[in-house]
Amino acid sequence: MNARKSDRVADVWGDRTPFGQNETWPVRVDMQLAVAETEVDDWIQSACVLCSNGCGLDIAVKDGRIAGVRGRRADRVNHGRLGPKGLYGWQANNSPDRLARPLMRVDGALQEVDWETAMGAVAGRSQQLLREKGPLSHGFYTSGQLFAEEYYALAMVARAGLGTPHLDGNTRLCTATAEWALIETFGSDGDPGSYTDIDVCDTLFLVGHNVSETQTVLWARMLDRLHGPDRPKLIVVDPRPTPAAREADVHLALRAGTNVALLNAILHELIVHDRIDAAFVTTHTVGFEALRETAVEYPPDRAAAICGVSSEAIVEAAELIGRAERLVSTVLQGVYQSNQATAAAVQVNNVNLLRGMIGKPGCSVFQMNGQPTAENTRETGANGALSGYRNFANDDHVDELARLWNVDPLTIPHWAPPTHAMQIFRFAEEGSIEFLWISATNPAVSLPELHRIRAILGQERLFVVVSDAFLTETAQLADVVLPAALWGEKTGTFTNADRTVHISDKAVEPPGDARADLDIFLDYAERMGFRDKDGAPLLKFSTPEEAFDAFKAITAGRPCDYTGLSYDKLRGGSGIQWPCNERHPDGCERLYTEYEFPTRAEYCESYGHDLISGAENEADEYRAHDPRGRAFLKAAEYIPSDEQPSDDYPLQLTTGRSVYHFHTRTKTARAPQLEAAEPDVWIELAPGDADRLDVSEGDVVEIESPRGRVEARARLTGIREGVVFVPFHYGYWDEPEGSEPNGRPRAANELTITRWDPVSKQPLFKTAAVRVTKIAAGEPVRTSGREATR
């Protein structure tokens, strides 16, 4: 089949290539080029960084610039396909407003300086603070967009160089609950399944996972099964009528924040009607009795009343799940950013465990990621765990890491979990963090309650360093801005939600003086003089490949074992799934095929938490009840979210994504096709609610919460009544006022609440109460992207 050009804006998922159970997903190569194919000078291997799916692609180079992309037919993830963001998003690299020189705040304004001046200022301030205020004065907030090598360097800088626990990624916003749900159930992070499970399953259970818009190529794979022979059953839990929901056999459009009640009712049905694999549960899990006691409190009638769905629909969904022989369950932000995030995500794990459907072809649960390299912040220890999925509360794990890094174990902060993002900002707010380095992310648009975040970043006493490719809303508030190379302009690796590791080779030079984040962190480490115990440089690598080899050495023997991988091995064919080691020289398709879970006290990544309060379990307690390789069935009662609709704020707000945009549009708004597809913020209202508010399609409305206001055009959709949706992508950099909503507030996070899940510490973006008022009449808006996703 030849590579084809097609309009992936109007036709988001492309032509169907139906296939049946156990068949191979057909190849379909998608391509987008700014020049004729014959004009391309070079094709460079990479993978897409604009969603968490991790589609393999080749970058076309023409005259030293990126000229397009083509899906890699050999890649196991996408079999040649690319989604709209992948096909068009590369154009951001060539954008004329890329940052090409460092900037420094002089007399209140950012001015161009050279690297020596900028890095001298960063290291100078850092050294002074370290001397006068100690390492806890430093915080780092990174991304889901960098490469594994870069996160690993940053983790070493923070944990062993400075010795601060204050390092986290914006992955905390997208993927922390995936991580913790896996840890709570299986003892360690790492998604057990493989995307090939889609090819084999007979039932798909999608919980708060709008896969049709968040991972379009994965949805294409599901659609090809759904349109093929022996169509799998599809159950979708989502308050919105997403494209996936419209394909469903059962769509449960529940009230926002009630996932635990619904899932408990499904567990109730499985248990009461004996749809469980009792032998599996007895042999390979602990905690069934407590789970049963909780589940029996949630008969479908009770859950129906809580969730606002019909009891019959719950029963039907449980029937389909109970009859499944090969069940794939998937979870994303509808759970992770909602009330009781980890508790709910764990209940989905429980569904698969009760049915014994894990570790076998077509049987798995996917705790999905939101970003392409989120998996790597987790593996490298740039977020809530120590490098290599190590347990901060286990002294042996800390000692091992200290030995590998050749530092004193006391240097590595492990008195408590690594500080989560919202707490890092809290420490900056109270003034105990005075140096904050933000890399490749945009908290001034993406964190909750933006007026608060802007106030924190704007403080005189806080020294803010931002490394980014563009002058984002956050960069505009910085003291020093460091111009960073983007994907395609540097080499590195990253890993997707089914553990597939891809290499992304450097295709072109970055613009102007921009540098790779790895080089920036190494420069900082050098200037700071970080040394190991023997006085040698702490970071003993200077190239991406050396950094990769250093990282893989510390994964030996851990679940995310990279030791069998190398840059050479990753080049030429498909991405490869970890663990890749002597036992699995070509990677490992599925974890837990022998039903041995990494829960042993000496091996597990965490001793776990109380799912309701987030209280940490203690080591002695855990050892006394060591599950020794069995998985946990952890129960949770339903607890209503704190901010319920009221007379003043009668509607529930849920925020989320557009299929055409990524994060805060920093890249996607600079790709003309994507920008034209969804150029501005909107609000989705149910027709019944719109009627009561006297709002018609296209009217301009004001949305208010106790924390702020947003103006947006109304869209009437089949969303559940009482719930409104606002996409969170839109900020202010391309508005006249720059970083702030001086003219027209349009960032959804003006409205959201500062509140996080007690276990995963993921902010709960989907739990605010709002009111909506019409401001002005308007005409329905037509965009090139509208119809495709309605």
Partner: protein, 173 residues
Amino acid sequence: MNRLGGALRELYRAEEELADEYVKVGERLGAEHELWYGCKRFAQQCHAHAEAIRNHAARYEAELPPADDAEVGESSTAALRHKLSELLGRRPESGLVLLRSLRQLYLQAQEVSFHWLIAGQIAQATRNAELLADVDRLHRETLTQIKWLKSQAKEASPQALVAGQPLETADVR
């Protein structure tokens, strides 16, 4: 009131006082978001415990004071405390206030836990299966509160006490 009733009365009092403390701390530390929500939930839990104890107390001839149902954010001084918390919350000393508050909650929760232990002994010695079942369930919730308070204190103390001054270790590596 017999001696057994007196013991349940002590437990009741300790739960209600702990609830009050959660309310006070939650409101005083409104800028510490996790603490605010934790205190709010645990204040409710303590009230629920107190209510459960009331149901058993009659059997042991204990007269309990009237129930209190103060909630975080709804007490008469909530608005004032909240304003203070916002002002204080932007000063480094807020960490010390946090730590002192956690200590007070921890001590009171330990007291509650002690009284649950005694209540469990009473339940066994008087062969009161219903009380025993409640003690078993509710004492576990108090122990979870204690674990949560420890988690909070472990995270908060280094930042409250160590940040802001030079690290005095001879050799930090």
